[in-house]
Amino acid sequence: MSLKNVYVAKTLDEVLNLLNQYGCESKLIAGGTDVIIQLREKEISPKVLVDISNLSEINFIDESEDKITIGACTTFTTIAESSILKDKLKGLVQSAESVGSPQIRNAATIGGNICNASMAADIVPPLLALDAEVLIESKAGKRRILLDHFLMGKGKVDIKPEEIVTAITFNKPKNREALGFGKLGLRKALAIARISTAIYLSLDEENTCRKIRIANGAVGFRGMREKEVENIFIGKQLTEDVINMGIEKLREELNQRLAGRSSAEFKTTAIAGIFKKALLETANNCKE
């Protein structure tokens, strides 16, 4: 057994000190739903585990005038039940509700989901569509970075061994703006990649798309923005024709990205289907 020491941290300061002391010999454990499997399969072998699941300092959902900030140790159950998120940010609630099972959602955290950086991490597409920023701390200080830059590749994120993600923050939707989400392939046991899509949409009174940000999960080595597809929509009215053009572009993009994979055709068709449904729902939610 390589594990020598385990700590239950009660304050953020304590965590920062431990990380500073042990650096790359240490591993943070929040909900443990990824870490414990990795420990048992010997994919990782830290000497020190630092439990952060009891850190109330980074377990919160906070609303200010123009921002919403979610603490890294907030569980998916808390996100799913949040009254702050339930209307215009329904996409976040739906993505949290779609994770695993009640038992997993009661333990698994938003910070763990992002830092584990699986290509199918469910909270990632909605947060990319929100253009969210990641707040990071270490003993040396604080920094913030766009989630889009924080995610580097499958299982890789831009974080140092002495650092901890403390929160995720994004702008609050304004009038006639909303976030939507769609997902397919719910059961991990069935071994289908969980395909998901998230859309942030801003419509004016004429139903013209002022802003749109689209991000998909499980169709690349990480959750990704679909900027080419966004360009089809911007400045246009959301008519059936425009929607179909957008979907055509999405198919093109995915076919290129997934070229040569046996799952390409299935994934492309599946994404097109859930994308259309999510887009229409989001458009309706903008108007409410």
């Binding site: 585990l49 439990d51 695993g100 099972s101 038992q103 997993i104 009661n106 333990a107 046991a189």
Partner: protein
């Protein structure tokens, strides 16, 4: 070794555990509480479901040291001596148990559902037990049993005739 204080079914235990033990290992191997089962060991089947601070979690997905000072309820904590808990009574009454491997976890998920709302819809019940796999029953009887348990709880007892 790591010393921890566990509060299980209202009793306190002071234990020295290996750093790499999970809660399921402590329950079964250290405390002999064999009601919680280990099926998959990777969070998929729910056979190891327990209540921690009132919420269901998989005991195979929590490290023992993380549960220090936490309030835990296992299947052993449900009955009151000889008197079965209404949920247990309802599972027997409806015949919702076949091999029984999933039953302890299923009953704790049922408790979490009914603690929130003693009159849940069948859809809410299905959602609530979606992390508990049963290879035997096909779930219909389990949902029936949880509905009956809700009724028993609303009537304040475990008399199925009432």
């Amino acid at each position: 070794m790591k010393d921890i204080n566990l509060k299980i079914n209202g009793k306190s235990y002071r234990l020295s555990t290996n750093e790499d033990m999970r809660l399921i290992d402590v329950l079964r191997d250290e405390l002999g509480l064999l009601g919680s089962k280990e099926g998959c060991g990777e969070g998929e089947c729910g056979a190891c479901t327990i209540l921690m601070e009132g919420r269901t979690v998989n005991a195979c997905m929590v490290m023992a040291f993380q549960t220090d000072e936490k309030e835990i309820i296992t299947i052993e904590g449900l009955s009151n001596g000889e008197q079965l808990h209404p949920i247990q009574q309802a599972f027997i009454e409806i015949g919702a148990v076949q091999c029984g491997f999933c039953t302890p976890g299923m009953i704790l998920s049922a408790k979490a559902i009914l603690d929130k709302d003693t009159n849940p819809t069948r859809e809410m019940i299905r959602q609530g037990i979606s992390g508990n796999l049963c290879r035997c029953t096909g779930y219909a009887k389990i949902v029936d049993a949880i509905e009956l348990a809700g009724k028993l709880l609303r009537n304040g007892g475990n008399n199925c005739e009432a």
